[in-house]
């Protein structure tokens, strides 16, 4: 019989739950890392705890991914690593559809700067508090979000009339 009041957290998420009991999150596992999911409102609190608690010490932001989950809105995932304890974790933030606002973590991790700029231009995520949210890989004045699933693959072909699908945006 399972004890429902104390959910079993896989891997390092149990450690996070122990040291940051006030932050509400749900935990599961990917094929490579433990994964914890938080609301955008609790992201900064969680990240600060993850970085600054000595027992956790996630000081290295490896990677950040933005994903378009279509009806479920945009998702942002952070892969963190601790140089001291040699453990890794993935933090997932879901934004509601139509409201892609996430607090920026550039104040905690300097490495997040370009990652956030890339996710902002590619998917239309808005990182509140980012000092310089300009386009990075795309042209400065282009306002398209190519990694959205609604964005067609061959926009040039559509513009030239070779493909006849609706491009969904104006040039």
């Amino acid at each position: 019989m399972t004890n429902e009041t104390a959910p079993a957290y896989p891997g390092v998420s149990a450690l996070v739950h122990k040291h940051l009991p006030k932050v509400p999150f749900t935990a599961d596992k990917t094929l490579t890392d433990a994964n914890i999911t938080v609301e955008p409102a609790h992201l900064l609190e969680l990240m600060q705890g993850l970085k600054e608690r000595r027992e956790l010490a996630f000081d290295y932001l490896r990677n950040m991914v933005g994903i378009d989950m279509q009806e479920e809105g945009l998702v942002c995932k952070y892969q963190l690593h601790s140089m001291k304890h040699r453990h890794s974790i993935q933090v997932t933030v879901h934004t509601p559809p139509g409201n892609p606002h996430i607090p920026s973590i550039t104040g905690l991790y300097a490495a997040a700067d370009w990652h956030e700029r890339e996710a902002a231009e590619m998917l239309g995520l808005v990182f509140d508090g980012h000092p310089n949210l300009k386009n990075l890989l795309l042209d400065e004045d282009v306002r398209i979000h190519p990694l959205l699933k609604a964005h067609p693959l061959q926009k040039m072909e559509i513009a030239q009339g070779i493909e006849d699908r609706d491009p969904g945006f104006k040039f």
């Binding site: 094929l31 290295y60 490896r62 370009w114 890989l137 190519p146 990694l147 693959l153």
Partner: protein, 380 residues
């Protein structure tokens, strides 16, 4: 005696300088590709630096989302185009992790051997280009080219292409090694060692080179971690962080090799760490040749079209420039739902501003060179 009126006296205001903006790139030999940075200089000092990237953006991630798992191989080795094999390895590992596909043991050994050859190749290009940056114009480049072309001959033999081999497949390799290949790789190793000796003689012991690089732009361990540096730039600060040791993948846990680290994180350390790494790679290749079993190189149980139900993973490998990671997510079908490249050059380059501010313009070029960026990987 002439009395100067009050307004003719020279005051501190007369020596005020005006900040000047210098545009470097995108077509510039010192930027190693199509990279542009706008330097604001006060005299010869850099006071601000604004990097502009994206000139080589090809929409790698969007393309991968819209193609079959096996079709995408062709553009993943065009990310880090100096070490195509290393990129293919990361991509294949991500697909294999998602689909839980097995890889035959012989294929793993050949993969590691090819990746380490790529690492030597990429580091040779760094020595060559970096030597040209600091002023050894031409000589170091020609030294690098000699061994590089020999290694490329070996790549061409197994795959038919020099720079973009497309030799790996999810589940193994395209084909087995040609006849007598292992023995000739041993001969190649002797040649590579001679080439590295030559570089040691040309650069490491060169007083002009050492004085130019030592103590320039030192990076502390805390800064390097905060900025997200990886690879030789991170290890030069004294932190032995190498994915091959920290989170061993493939067969790296069976091989004996050391992780060279620096002390101060300055430019000379970044150079010397790469030099030591190239020597370690020759040791790894030798062990691969000794231990390589016979057998298949491609998993025969895989279907023609790979279909993966669901799952997500973040696969990290030690690429030639640093942590080369692939985030992959599958939601059924023969295409990935999302694939994201964590490119080491991209993350190392994002710290450029912090590194060059406060240095001379001539040093800014060397600092950029010491990061060893490949623009194909930065721009995706």
């Amino acid at each position: 005696m002439t009395v100067w009126p009050e307004e003719r006296l020279v005051t501190a205001d007369d020596f005020n300088t005006v900040d000047m903006t210098i545009n470097v790139g995108p077509q510039h030999p010192a930027t190693h590709g199509v990279f542009r940075m706008v330097l604001t200089v006060d005299g010869e000092m850099v006071v601000d630096c604004e990097p502009y990237i994206g000139y080589l953006h090809r929409g790698l991630e969007k393309l991968t989302e819209n193609h079959d798992y096996r079709q995408s191989m062709g553009w993943w080795d065009r990310t880090d185009y100096l070490a195509g094999m290393a990129c293919e390895m990361a991509y294949c590992m991500a697909v294999e992790k998602l689909g839980q596909f097995e890889v035959p043991e012989r294929a793993e050994y050949i993969r590691v051997m090819m990746v380490e050859l790529s690492r030597i190749l990429s580091h040779l290009m760094f020595f060559g280009a970096f030597g040209a940056d600091v002023g050894s114009f031409g000589t170091s480049f020609i030294y690098a080219w000699r061994e590089r072309e020999r290694i490329y001959d070996f790549f061409e033999e197994v795959s038919g292409d020099r720079m973009f081999p497309t030799y790996f497949r999810p589940g193994g390799l395209q084909m087995d090694l040609p006849e007598n290949y292992e023995d000739r790789v041993r001969w190649l190793l002797g040649s590579i060692r001679q080439g590295l000796e030559d570089f040691d003689g040309l650069l490491t012991g060169n007083e002009i080179f050492v004085e130019r690089c030592r103590g320039l732009s030192p990076v502390t361990q805390e800064q390097a971690i905060d900025w997200g540096l990886s690879g030789a730039c991170l290890r030069s600060t004294g932190l032995p962080y190498d994915i091959r040791k920290v989170e061993p993948y493939s067969i790296y846990d069976r091989l004996k090799f050391d992780i060279p680290v620096g002390k101060t994180g300055d430019i000379f350390d970044r150079f010397i760490v790469r030099m030591a790494e190239a020597w370690q790679s020759t040791k790894i290749i030798e062990q691969c040749l000794d231990q390589m079993p016979k057998g298949l190189v491609l998993n025969p149980d895989l279907p023609k079209t790979l279909r993966i139900e669901s799952g997500e993973c973040y696969v990290r490998t030690e690429g030639t420039k640093g942590e080369y990671g692939v985030y992959a997510m599958a939601k059924g079908g023969n295409k990935p739902y999302r694939m994201k490249l964590r490119s080491p050059s991209f993350c190392n380059l994002s710290a450029l501003k912090q590194m060059v501010v406060g240095h001379y313009v001539a040093d800014a070029i060397i600092i950029l060179g010491s990061l060893d960026i490949v623009l194909g990987e930065v721009d995706k």
